[in-house]
């Protein structure tokens, strides 16, 4: 069992509707020991891939992308969900429909920070149905950059996002692969 899986067993809470609450260490309070391990692990798995930028989406992915990018010695870029005054108009634009919230939101990255000479590693905290990841992959494709793969902290393999993205020929590295969760709180890894 790796440090992230151990942390899930110790601290995550299974909620009705196959929701795994990891707000004590991953997406509200952030445990820097866990983040440091995750970033190091993504960097190690993609160290020979000549990554030039690490791409994620606000907000929960940002900390993980930072640790990964720092260890790879490259910048991180986070896609924005809201158009802010300082984003500018020249953006790659995709759309994501969140199953959890039922909301469709834009995914925007300035054209200044992804280009055809880039080799991109996408990083995110969760992979379930894959909606957010597909939006980020679309943005990478629009930019003409090449995609080295995706580093995911927690994949729910009982949902179809991972299979769908791997079927596109994209490398997905997930550090904790959850096969099932039960209402009594048990989490079973692959």
């Amino acid at each position: 069992m790796n440090p992230l899986e151990q942390k899930i067993i110790d601290s995550a809470v299974v909620m009705p509707g196959n929701i795994l609450r990891v707000d004590s260490f991953l997406n509200h309070q952030l445990d820097m020991t866990v983040f440091d391990w995750i970033g190091g692990e993504f960097a190690r798995r993609f160290e020979d891939d000549k990554i030039t930028r690490v791409l994620t989406i606000e907000s929960s992915g940002i900390g993980l992308a930072c640790f990964t990018a720092y260890k790879l010695g490259v910048p991180a870029v986070f896609a924005k969900k809201n158009r802010t005054k300082n984003l500018g108009n020249d953006v790659y634009l995709s759309a994501v429909s969140s199953y959890t919230t039922g909301i469709t939101y834009p995914v925007m990255v300035s054209r200044d920070y992804l280009c055809s000479s880039d080799r991109v590693l996408i990083v995110d905290d969760f992979l379930a149905r894959g909606a957010a990841l597909l939006g980020l992959i679309d943005v990478v494709n629009q930019s003409g950059a090449s995609l080295a793969g995706c580093g995911i902290a927690i994949e729910k393999t009982f949902q179809n996002g991972g299979a769908r993205i791997r079927d596109m020929g994209i490398r997905v590295e997930s550090l904790a692969r959850i096969k099932s969760m039960s209402d009594d709180g048990a989490v079973i890894f692959e």
Copy 2:
């Protein structure tokens, strides 16, 4: 001139309306060398303050809070602007009116991640009129935690947020203090 001030001179863009675009290194693309320096500097300035948690607000503060928290050996916590399913209902709640966007949004932190025994360092990317910072200070006060101070990357000292918060007796450490910006792109530091 410190590394952040140098980066501002080299890469920031002055926009009409006293907006400083730093999206090439601070709040869209993230330059890990700059983040590492900022986090180290906040940690050094508050190293004797027995910090137990670093608090910020999504999204631009998260990377800075991570580097600071990592170096202090404590968790980071980021306040949320949207109520998500996994946040729960038991939150400290404040409100922020953004001058830049004209929107009022909630600031929420779970009661699980701030308590009266905490000693908190607030970290954020910008301090101008101080709206976001006042929301975070309100959350800390609601929790009963003690506030060690605020670490700010860029303060616009020609706006009144910094003076207002220092007048409350709160320590504010800003790493780049901008006295004025002109439409021809010049940035003058204090």
